[in-house]
Amino acid sequence: MSLSALDEGLAIPEAPAEHGTLETALRASRDAGRKLLVPYVTGGLGDDWADIVRAVADAGADAIEIGVPFSDPVMDGPVIQEASELALRSGATPVTIFDELRTIDAGVPIAVMTYYNLAFHMGHERFAQSLAAAGVSAAILPDLPLEEVGPWATAADAAGVETVLLAAPTAPDERLPRVVARSRGFVYAVGLLGVTGERDALASSSLVIAKRLKAITDKPVLVGVGISNAKQAVEICAEADGVVIGSALMRRVLEGVGASGAGAFIAEIRAALDAG
């Protein structure tokens, strides 16, 4: 079947060879023997979200994921949904969050996680430049898979924003290398079949996907989705380079632990990872 002209416009540009800010930082930490810890914080949630970002940075985060809330977060479970809805209701927009991010000096790289429509609506170039201007190193767009990433990645690459791709347990062996090749910053391994949220035990699928990815790439491999506590973080880091902690942190934030409580939770995971 031949591609139409419009489909040719979807061509996926090769990822730039040089590492961006996020990947450089994560590689350096990893190569120094450290396990990587990336907490997720919903932007615009409550008056103290910037304090929470600083607290988790001080507690030993290697980078921080900032969620820019979207009305229809299909990859997220109840906790992140609630956090997003509350932030939206209190008036959070991409613009207010980017403005505030510019003033937060976390001391570690920032990645924004949101859904593609916010970037599409603002325009790829403008969205990418807004991220860069806010000091954001990378973008994670979970509903923008490899085949659709081209137009966005072109703009992001040009603005110096790394686009992190997700790698899922459902991907056949022939697909993973193509995802990995286009992923910048790190490779986001989806730990299980399902949406974000805490689970009682570490899914065996998370160990499998981490192992499959580590076998084919030297980019940092971080596992997210379903990593719920220090014990699980240590377990998965037997295979992976690090973890993303989202719902477990945001549940505590929604329960009102504040910046100090959020920092304490991340410090506990940091300590466990450092102890191995």
């Binding site: 009305s71 599409f120 791709l165 459902t170």
Partner: protein, 385 residues
């Protein structure tokens, strides 16, 4: 064929595509391949045609509305999808997807539903084929469509309320997609309209082309080889409209989709991406999806199938808007003049004919009567008192 297949990336012009979480990409690819194979397999087609005839009751008749036509001064023909088993056009698609799911070895169906018609059709086919079925339905819709909720449960399906956001169809789609992300190995997502990621908009259209093919033949017989001047249908996601348009896209017939004023994705939206597709979408200045508001749960959706966005952008179809009040009038008009109680969804198309009757005077209009009004009688009883 009258309507073209999408490009290899699932696009109709600039619309469509496959904007899904990475976890679902292989499942969408597998579904596309399975559909291509099945659709080219005479045995699959024969089994589906057999069920459409012996189980769903096809072909559905074409009814000429003599009293209504006299009252409006417009010759109105109804394609009677309301007479199908389960009471709407939805059964065409679900029989197709059910057989396909079985062929793919899936044991469980998940579906979203608005008014409950697609949910009932899904539950029905799951019962017929001995599959498990879970239907997500907005909490608000569960309230206003209690009868259909009971039907689904009677048919053995589990009905799960979608509690987030506007608690209507949009949120039911979110929940169904979240379920599918977790269960994709055993579950087929039985999407109910010509929307979502590729191949759904194309596949669901193909399962509904039977409406257009039959209607074309029936019109040619009735109109002595002629075709209607206008073909119209209501548009939420747009499956019944695409079904009937497909029979007339290669003719001179004017194609008119009718959206609720409170959920007019084509009429009031701008291009956006949600639920796996790029299409016209009602959204705020930052790209947050807006909540639709319509008397009809089945059309209470801020997006629209990508092929409708394409047909609108190339000017092959036009899209009109009607208000809830106009729909309530049309609901009563058809009941009174023809003894046919329409569902609130197709009452939108009739509301447009009635409002624009001066412009349509003397013309022949084919309306897809996509569902019957039984499910809406309770709600209308409250409104009309």
């Amino acid at each position: 064929m009258a309507l073209a297949a999408p490009t290899s990336s699932g696009r109709f012009g600039e619309f469509g595509g496959r904007y899904v979480p990475e976890t679902l990409v292989p499942a969408c690819q597998e579904l596309e391949e399975a559909f291509r194979e099945a659709w080219a397999d005479p045995l699959f087609r024969a089994e589906l045609d057999g069920l459409l005839a012996d189980y769903a009751g096809r072909p559905s008749p074409l009814t000429e509305c003599h009293r209504l036509s006299a009252e409006l001064g417009v010759r109105v023909l109804l394609k009677r999808e309301d007479l199908n088993h389960t009471g709407s056009h939805k059964i065409n698609n679900v029989l197709g997807q059910g057989l396909l799911a079985r062929r793919m070895g899936k044991k469980r169906l998940v579906a979203e539903t608005g008014a409950g018609q697609h949910g009932v059709a899904s539950a029905t086919v799951a019962a017929l084929l001995g599959m498990e079925c879970m239907v997500y339905m907005g909490e608000v819709d569960i309230e206003r469509q209690a009868l259909n909720v009971f039907r689904m449960r009677l048919l053995g399906a589990e009905v799960v309320p979608a509690m987030s956001g506007s608690r209507t169809l949009k949120d039911a789609v979110n929940e169904a997609m979240r379920d599918w992300v977790a269960t994709v190995e055993t579950t087929h997502y039985c999407l109910g309209s010509v929307m979502g990621p590729h191949p759904y908009p194309w596949m669901v259209r193909e399962f509904h082309t039977v409406i257009g093919l039959e209607a074309r033949e029936q019109c040619e017989a009735l109109l002595d080889g002629g075709i209607p001047d206008v073909v119209t249908a209501c548009v939420g996601g747009g499956s019944n409209a695409i079904g009937i348009f497909s029979g007339f896209a290669d003719t001179d017939a004017e194609l008119v989709g009718v959206e609720p004023a409170g959920g007019a994705a084509v009429g009031r939206g701008v291009p956006g991406v949600v639920h796996g597709m790029k299409s016209y979408l009602m959204q705020d200045e930052f790209g947050q999806v807006q909540e639709a508001h319509s008397i009809s749960a089945g059309l209470d959706y801020p997006g629209v199938g990508p092929e409708h966005s394409h047909l609108a952008s190339i000017g092959r179809a036009t899209y009109e808007q009607v208000t809830d009040a106009e729909v309530i009038e049309a609901f009563q008009l058809l009941s009174r003049t023809e003894g046919i109680i329409p569902a609130l969804e197709p009452a939108h198309a009739l509301a447009w004919i009635s409002r624009d009757r001066a412009k349509l005077a003397g013309k022949t209009v084919l309306l897809n009567m996509s569902g019957r009004g039984d499910k809406d009688v309770g709600q209308m009883m409250e409104i009309l008192g």
